[in-house]
């Protein structure tokens, strides 16, 4: 069973819903909102909503589509604001909103997307969706603030790193899984299990994303490689590298990070290959995926669980492919 084939009608309904959303923005900013809403990303968070809410029937569940639109629009809003901070010019091979409309307008455009996401959430008969999403959004922002304030701060512990990705990435993953399971009310306790699955899948995904920045091939990813390094973001590969190099080398790399010295940083990418940091990071991803899957164990009979397990397997395959690239480069 191809899980993406199964939810294709839901994804198509979401695309339509997102396009229609532009009409809900004031005429003066409609084109700008449409530009952001058109960004055809991986739709990861909507996929989580659809998988967790999967009843075994292909008929489109309208409430899942609306919930998926909420989490995707919150995600798009955070991307609009992220790109301001990263001074990013391109995302998914298109100009960022910040580049196209200027950073000032992009701040407000992100705000308008947040507001509309919460507005869609508020149209559910229960205020529970709004409650979850607003709290989740606040936590995502807290994670982003931590990341921003500690940029080029080389004194970050693994616990700090973990907390940061818990908030900035895993939070919206878990909320997506919870919402799908909650709205489709499949079994007592399943929403909480889906939440736990989403949380650990989110951590695994963020570590994978950090790793891609070091090992991936640029054309596959559509974003500038080594961006995280250049902007001084602390990632797991970098933290492990710092632990494993000799004192003098560490001192030099830390100085390069603080100063944003790109030449030294580029050479650290090579060093990571030499020391096999990739394999260590891949083990960390595998560990998270195992915890994620264990949360689903008691609910193996639920149709949604088949899809969620497939998703974890897909991430595992992508990690394996990246690992092969890594071996090839060494």
């Amino acid at each position: 069973m191809d899980p993406f084939h199964v939810i294709a009608p839901h994804l198509a309904a979401l695309d339509q819903f997102m396009r229609d959303q532009a009409l809900h923005f004031e005429p003066e900013i409609r084109d700008m909102a449409a530009y952001c809403l058109e960004a055809s990303g991986k739709r990861l968070r909507p996929t989580l909503v659809f998988f967790s809410g999967w009843h075994g029937k292909e008929a489109v569940d309208d409430s899942l589509v609306r919930a998926a639109a909420v989490v995707e629009m919150v995600h798009l809003a955070t991307l609009v604001h992220d790109d301001i901070m990263d001074r990013a010019e391109l995302r998914r091979n298109r100009q960022t909103a910040s580049r196209k409309y200027g950073p000032d307008a992009a701040v407000l455009l992100g705000d308008a997307l947040f507001s509309q996401a919460l507005h869609i959430a508020s149209l559910f008969p229960t205020a529970e969706v709004c409650r979850l999403v607003s709290a989740s959004t606040r936590r995502v922002c807290s994670g982003e603030i931590m990341q921003t304030l500690r940029r080029r701060d080389t004194n970050v512990s693994l616990a700090d790193y973990r907390r940061m990705i818990d908030l900035k990435t895993a939070e919206l993953f878990r909320t997506s899984c919870y919402l799908g399971a909650y709205l489709s009310a499949q079994a007592p306790g399943f929403a909480e299990a889906a939440d736990r699955f989403g949380h650990h899948l989110g951590i695994a995904y963020q570590i994978y994303d950090d790793l891609v920045d070091f090992l991936g091939e640029e054309q596959q990813i559509g974003k500038t490689l080594g961006t995280d390094l250049a902007t001084g973001k602390l990632t797991l590969p970098l933290m492990i590298l710092l632990e494993r190099i000799p004192e003098t080398e560490r001192t030099a790399l830390l100085a390069a990070l603080r100063e944003g010295n790109t030449t030294s940083l580029a050479s650290s990418q090579k060093r990571m290959h030499q020391l096999g940091i990739g394999a260590v990071v891949i083990q960390a991803i595998d560990d998270e995926l195992a915890v994620a899957l264990s949360a689903l164990q008691p609910y193996a009979a639920i149709p949604a669980v088949q899809l969620l397990k497939e998703l974890a397997a897909l991430l595992k395959r992508q990690v394996t492919r990246l690992s092969a690239v890594n071996e090839g480069q060494r």
Copy 2:
């Protein structure tokens, strides 16, 4: 009857509620959130909630306090983002969040404040509060985007200007009035009347605020005078000035505006005094106040209406005082 004395217990409860809110933010950003929440502004929007929801009893109505906190926190979030765009260093004699924490962190801090405001809104038993506030917030952002994109654009019509202040200021005023009246359910149709009152009071207030930027005394206001001019914001005083000066002078002023030439702009402030633009702007404020008051006419017997009328009278008195300053300067 002093209307502010009447709602003093509500304002005190709001202060306490706002202080307590800091605890709802993640520990990593709590101090930053507290710093923004401590900004003791004029509490104009909460005052509108308390006045419109006034039942004639001094006992604190908890739902009004929560609604007031929602609109005030949305307002504080927009100020945090505004100050990034205006590169403002001071607000109400304190460092802006953008200055204190850097513009990147301020973008995210504003987002976290928005999220928490919507979260408080989502805790009402009805999703109606969330619905109103999220749509209102989106419209406020649209107004701000219009203002940002059209900065130094000297081809703005009076209709554009009106639409801009409808969205960026009057929107949250009307929502504040509506919420107070809606939550206290005083008479059929009164919430809509309060909405109309708030809308026109908001326009009057924004025009007054524009005028203060030209005529006010800096120490009274606590913000840098002539800021609007320096940042190229189109305001009613400026638009009327442009209409009334000879062609050659207009061309020079328009060029100065586009270039942000502060010397020429400072002299336009003097010119405004000479031409008595103040009086024309004051007439526009009076007209809006008259429309605002007429909306309340059918509800004259409701206790809340006494307070709202007092508020309009207070704005009128402040305008008169400004007018006297204006005369003194000529």
